[in-house]
């Protein structure tokens, strides 16, 4: 499971990541971006240029080779039985969906089979989540603050967990491609 979190300044990076990734990538991807509420959003279509992006409903099964996007106004979690669970509780760091909530849930459900990637943003959401993913044996990647439009979010994650690896976009793509190869090797 690859979980990607982003906020202000992350959309271009996200689009580039999705554009550059090999289409056959053999894992599940889950994207959590901070979005406005109660405003119709085209985000799923914007990001769907190459592969369809699914906004999951509550209890929908998590499938491989799919890209999921956290819906507006809900936290997105994963149950042990491999289904999505949505949550309409208070925003965290003024955000719902919150990256921390999803990353923490991914850490619990996938342990070492999880990678968390945190992109540009102007809040501190995601730092605690990256920490949880790393503590559970997964990989924690942070966009190199020097390359981020807003460095608060990646910097907060690096400050909080020194084990997180800063990467630029090219390095991220390389990392994800390698990850895909090792996943294929495993299976």
């Amino acid at each position: 499971m690859i979980a990607i979190g982003g906020s202000a300044g992350s959309l271009a990076v996200l689009a580039e990541l999705l554009e550059q990734l090999p289409i056959s990538i053999d894992c599940t991807m889950m994207i959590i971006v901070h979005r406005l509420r109660n405003v119709p959003s085209d985000l799923d279509r914007l990001l769907s240029l190459k592969a369809p992006i699914i906004e999951p409903e509550d209890k929908q099964p998590v499938l491989r080779r799919r890209i999921y996007l956290a819906p507006q106004n809900y936290h997105l979690l994963i149950e042990d039985d491999g289904t999505f669970s949505l949550d309409y509780s208070e925003p965290l760091h003024y955000s719902r969906p919150s990256i921390d909530v999803s990353f923490t849930s991914v850490a619990a459900a996938y342990g070492p089979r999880a990678a968390g990637i945190l992109l540009s943003g102007a809040s501190k959401d995601g730092a605690a989540g990256i920490q949880q993913i790393i503590a559970a044996g997964g990989a924690g990647i942070v966009q190199d603050p020097a390359t981020a439009l807003f460095d608060t979010m990646p910097q907060a994650a690096l400050d909080r967990c020194p084990a997180a690896q800063p990467m630029n976009i090219t390095e991220m793509i390389h990392f994800l491609t390698e990850l895909k190869m090792s996943a294929e090797h495993d299976s």
Binding site: E57, D58, L77, L86, D87, Y88, S89, A109, Q132
Partner: protein
């Protein structure tokens, strides 16, 4: 760093609460329930789950405080405005054909959606012959709902939602202000009854033409969702309507064959007769 609660620890905690206080959380969705407990422990500055269980065993007030904290009471007026627009346009004209309209808001939290419904009915000229039964598990929320006081700072967003829902009146006519709060007009509340009902253990108590239960199913596992869907089926008039939250689905439930989908986007269903 917050320590993850294991399934075993969660099970113990849930059994303790059930045994000691009669509330049964065993069929709640695990991931969000764990998260609520974790947040509560953080809030109560507790690090070990044993600390929490020990305290729960001997302190009723502490339990009540926790119950208030772990049940989700988040709501807003005209939540998902286009859902309310669909209600106005597609459902209310049908409800208008009944001599008395009975509506159940299950899991109403502090009542914001109930007041929104009352406004819709008032504008359709139906409030006088409507009875709205608004229930929740959480009695603290219900007491707040009865007072109908809403933080004034929220009203700007709610006015916007109201407009998007197709409202054309002056929204501020529906409340008076009192320092930091908006108070929903008493006339709008004349046919609303708030009381406690637990969807997990309580039974059918009336027959309705419309049941609204939005963003409540999210917290239940599939077993409990199915059970509550049966309760709703039995509580609906033949051809009565059921509204769920925008991301709640019947697709994964066996009960879905007993309902027709009226609006797949806005999650409005209708009981098959």
């Amino acid at each position: 760093m917050i320590k993850e609660i294991s399934n075993e620890e969660l099970g113990k905690l849930v059994r303790l609460i059930h045994r000691q206080y009669g509330y049964d959380f065993s069929d709640y969705a695990r991931s969000s329930l764990k998260r609520r407990f974790q947040r509560f422990m953080d809030h109560a500055s507790m690090e070990e789950i044993t600390e929490l269980s020990d305290r729960l065993l001997q302190d009723v007030t502490f339990f009540e405080h926790m119950a208030q904290f772990i049940t989700v009471n988040v709501t807003e007026m005209f939540l998902d405005p286009l859902f309310y627009k669909t209600l106005r346009e597609q459902v209310l004209p049908r409800l208008a054909t009944y001599p008395t309209i009975k509506i159940w808001h299950a899991g109403c939290a502090t009542g914001e959606e109930v007041f929104s419904m009352a406004i819709l009915l008032e504008e359709a000229g139906l409030l006088e012959r409507s009875r709205i039964y608004a229930t929740d598990l959480n009695t603290v929320s219900l007491r707040k709902a009865e007072k109908a006081r809403i933080p004034l700072k929220c009203m700007k967003d709610y006015a916007q939602n109201y407009l998007l829902s197709g409202g054309v009146e002056d929204f501020s006519n529906y409340y008076t202000t009192d320092n930091e709060h908006a108070v929903i007009q008493e006339a709008l509340r004349r046919n609303i009854l708030f009381f406690q009902h637990n969807l997990v253990t309580d039974q059918v108590f009336n027959e309705f033409q419309l049941i609204c239960c939005r963003n409540v199913f999210l917290y239940f596992n599939r077993l409990l969702q199915d059970r509550v869907l049966r309760l709703f089926y039995d509580s609906l008039d033949p051809l009565g309507y059921l509204a769920l939250g925008l991301k709640e689905s019947m697709m994964f439930s066996e009960e879905n064959i007993r309902f027709d989908s009226i609006s797949p986007v806005h999650k409005i269903f209708r009981r098959k007769s």
